[in-house]
């Protein structure tokens, strides 16, 4: 048995690989088999993380294990899907038992937190790269799309923005911060909690939703385009955490929140009749509104247009 065959056995023995609801067959055959209750659709999303592009080439493997699953799972939450399972395609330059053990522990932690079963994958030799494909289920016709925002809707987000972008200088070792600031920021970078509860609560209520990965303004642009509407963001309502504000100062914290990316927090639009449900959704709040037109406008406290030219993260950095 080759060393990569051993890795497959290693993952097959993980607690998250022992099956779960909807998993008829897991790791070990040519395919996994999923079952879907009548009246449900299967939601599917794929994310690749490349060393030196999406995470530092040298980093804690346990943290990478958490993050590699969390960023993919966030897409399920954004559709209002309930978690079912995932496949893991892991490309490794070499086989290190210590690295694998730590990576698998982090992966297991996030899989357990999200209730996602590992159902299959592939392990190959090459430059470090991870592709996770996630599967969830959602009642037919109830998935949260990007395309339903209507003029008059409120624009909302599911929590603080910018923490992960603010953490990047810490992740890269370019800056340091006292632990009471560094810890919450780094936690959000390495382990952004997929907002499954929020996504489920928004089914039948939100007119549009997505998870913010490219930066608030860029992702609002995706809703605006898909829905054929304009979005207004009120800068004064954009939520930034106390830790981020203390670390960067208010202006840079807002800049990170607007354009930083890697948040994996939901942005969504709500018809006015559902605004009252926000009180039951911890962290969720209104940050603007939908109107007729196109594009995204950023407004200051006086209602002046202060839209920046540069609308956020261009999907990848050459080096983080």
């Amino acid at each position: 048995m080759g060393e990569f065959e051993l890795i497959r056995h290693y993952f097959a023995a993980a607690p998250c690989a022992q099956g779960g609801e909807g998993v008829a067959l897991g790791i070990g055959d040519d395919c996994a088999l999923l079952e879907l209750p009548a009246g449900q659709q299967l939601a599917i999303s794929t994310d690749t993380l490349v060393a030196g592009v999406h995470f530092p080439a040298v980093c804690e493997p346990a943290l990478l294990g958490q993050r590699s699953l969390a960023v993919a799972a966030s897409d399920l939450a954004a559709m209002g899907a309930e978690p079912v399972g995932f496949t893991l395609a892991l490309t490794l330059p070499e086989v290190s038992a210590a690295w694998l053990k730590a990576y698998a522990e982090g992966l297991e932690r996030m899989a357990s937190q999200c209730r996602l079963s590992l159902i299959g994958g592939d392990t190959t030799r090459g430059p470090l790269s991870i592709t996770v494909t996630v599967f969830g289920r959602v009642p037919s016709g109830q998935a949260l799309r990007r395309s339903g925002a209507r003029p008059g809707d409120a624009l909302c987000v599911g929590g603080y923005l910018g923490d992960a972008a603010g953490a990047l200088a810490l992740v890269l070792g370019e800056r340091q911060a006292p632990s009471e600031l560094a810890e919450p920021l780094l936690a959000h970078y390495w382990s952004p909690p997929p907002q499954f509860a929020l996504g489920l609560a928004l089914r039948g209520r939100a007119t549009a939703a997505l998870d913010i990965s490219d930066g608030l303004l860029a992702d609002c642009g995706h809703i605006a385009k898909a829905s054929g509407v304009a979005l207004e963001v009120n800068l004064a309502q954009v939520p930034v955490s106390p830790a981020l504000q203390a670390f960067l100062g208010r202006d840079a914290a807002l800049q990170a929140a607007l354009s930083g990316g890697d948040d994996y927090v939901l942005a969504f639009t709500l018809a006015p009749e559902y605004l009252s449900c926000l009180a039951q959704l911890p962290g969720a709040q209104v940050i603007g509104r939908v109107r007729e037109g196109q594009g995204v406008t950023l407004l200051d406290a006086q209602g002046q247009d202060i839209t920046p030219q540069q609308r956020g993260y261009q999907h990848f950095r050459e080096t983080p």
Copy 2:
């Protein structure tokens, strides 16, 4: 719009990305959505191909497009699943319009041949690597597993073996051959046709099945282990193509067929009462039998055990 955003739009416009049976939502939102008829299960498999490991770093992108989908789709055929769709996670060191156009053409050709819809994916910068996840459907309980082979069953394969392994020296430019030999061998390497028709015909008949990717003997070992039986392979019955035999000579051709890997031809076991159905399955033939015990034994024409120690491909080569 960044250049990688442009690539996503490029793939979204491909004919194979325009939806198909079972695809409720394709590219463009946080997730794709699949539907599954009542009484069916969804079969899922993931394969990663890394440049310099699974294919030469310098190769025809159109051929790579075909091959990257074909090797993943073969896992669906091996389960007896009907094709539905696939996701494509493409990591590229740089954006070349000519490369992408050719790659997409090859991908499209195989997608059309297999009736697989492109439903989503991710495009990232990094060392060239391709992860394809395929989706198919199979009536509940009818998937072809590896675990049902029983003593007394016949061991069969779906066609010639060893062509792709034989082609490797041609792919790498280490050897040359007249075009009438090179062309069929290279065709099998770059475009192994997933045996969907065979997989469907074997539903309810084969007791076990898989697609041969690691070499006949190694993959027979997977059936033997999963089923708790022994497999006997009769060397004289192992089918090699006229082209392979002319290119390598009979002994080396058989060696490629036994241990070469990359065949993506089905191996399966049939109860004696279904042996007559082989006549309706072009290329399929008996190569041995299942008996009580464990492991794989190779027998010569006199029934002598000539099992080699080295059982095939160790999943990847350091450099092809």
